[in-house]
Symmetry: C2
Subunit: 326 residues, 2 copies
Amino acid sequence: MTTETEIIERLRRIATAPEARGLLDDAAVLDGLVITHDSIAEGVHFLPSDPPASVGWKLVTVNLSDLGAKGAIPAGALLSLTLTGDGQWEADFLTGVEHACESYALPLIGGDTIALPDGATRVLGLTAIGRSGANVPDRAGGRAGDALWLVGTVGDAAAGLAQLEANVRATGPLVDIYRRPIPQLGAGQALAPHAHAMMDVSDGLLLDARRVAEASGCSVAIGLDTLPLSSAFVAERGATLDARLFAATGGDDYALLAALSPDLDPATLSLPHGTKITRIGTLSAGEVSLSLTSGGGPVELPETLGFEHQGNDPRGLSAPPMAGRP
Amino acid sequence: MTTETEIIERLRRIATAPEARGLLDDAAVLDGLVITHDSIAEGVHFLPSDPPASVGWKLVTVNLSDLGAKGAIPAGALLSLTLTGDGQWEADFLTGVEHACESYALPLIGGDTIALPDGATRVLGLTAIGRSGANVPDRAGGRAGDALWLVGTVGDAAAGLAQLEANVRATGPLVDIYRRPIPQLGAGQALAPHAHAMMDVSDGLLLDARRVAEASGCSVAIGLDTLPLSSAFVAERGATLDARLFAATGGDDYALLAALSPDLDPATLSLPHGTKITRIGTLSAGEVSLSLTSGGGPVELPETLGFEHQGNDPRGLSAPPMAGRP
């Protein structure tokens, strides 16, 4: 009997090269290139009812989000495609892949297509490669005193997924964000030269913030009242403490979390026009921990901080959940 | 209704960047790195009865063979691992992955691990990255007058697979070669600076030789009597014309095919000690074609030149068959 935890620990023991970053980061770094691979499986990371083009879009953008978190410029992708049945699903899937690749100037440069037995579970993978800048921030560089900034909003995709779980025909802006997320490439590129630590928020803001605290060896305090919520989210769920905790733990956000020097005002950086960047917390010296505040007082941590992969699967080895979380 | 052929053609239309090499080569080339991805599925590319460690070994070496064909030095790999059942199969699989990575100095630097529903078909993938030399030969550079050389032997793996198909408990050197192939990395590195065209032989020598002819726009003649056969192969199947045709079409060879100037004697290159390299044919001007000779006379082409992926799937998009060919 070998558990998933043991498999992951085994992989970490194998992956000792510095380029692997201990398999604790969103991507590997090799010869100036940032390289990431995420796989998704039907019934695990996407719903059989999801439009195939949206699955293709998400496979590309989930990898682009990892490149964004390292400040990399997209350079190429290799697609691992399985074929089952009559190929119509795959043709529609490719439409989404192509659209996302075109939208973010990510050339498809290779890959592999294999036929699966009829009825087999679809497993799609993408290796995305980006050119890095001089600084490739990881999760471990956060320093006591740093300000914690969030790029984007949280909660939209989780609210959209909840709408779909209640009604598979649901539509609207939250479903759109769930199905067609936008990776924060430009903001990541602008922040990377200055960020002490940076990662993409994929498994839930609180869980990912705790990972920064753990990797950086410090405590993180987050003010829930400061969390950026979209107007669509507020219209659906409100802006109460409960709604904010839902947004902070729902995951699938394609946002970025960056630890910056308290002296740095991100408004002075060349962020893409319209970038929403919000200071949501602070890193402090002391024991590794995560604490929350709201209305001037402390808030107890929720039982679940986000999507915990079985066996504390490190993020570098797992796609963020998209639906039907295992 | 979309056929596999249409999917592949669609991928080719999407992959227009020069780094993609038209998806017709074994690998993409980006910023001095050679990048390849091959995926394998249970029941398609390996037998459920194959020892999992041998499947792990093959997943790594099938990718290393692609790097070898481009003359690249292994630099890193990203593993896409699916988990089903109790994880014991995957633990044994990783033993083979680790052994192959260690054997060829290929550091595991990242990847993704995802859980699949119980009973789902295992799909394993690897992205291998190598550092290229000054010349990265493709399939298209063969010139009229070039000599065609083969590195390694042909037929061993196909003969081993045939033994296993007759008796799942078969053992011996041919089964060993089928299960634990040896990629020609050192020979590829020594040949790459001089090769006009080079590729790895994975789908059958005759089929792959015809691909060189097609890509290079010339005719290829192969002397079947010159084909290098191992003593284990000859002991099992003899060296008759039939045996030679079996060896030339069986596939899964992990050999290299190189088109070299007729003036170049590979014995003058620094090939690894013990490298078997054999001149097996010639490239000539004229219509694209493949012709065979034996005993001084012409031999008709066999009906099947090797493992044709459904829809003439280009090799750059397909893993070579390992067993139970779809």
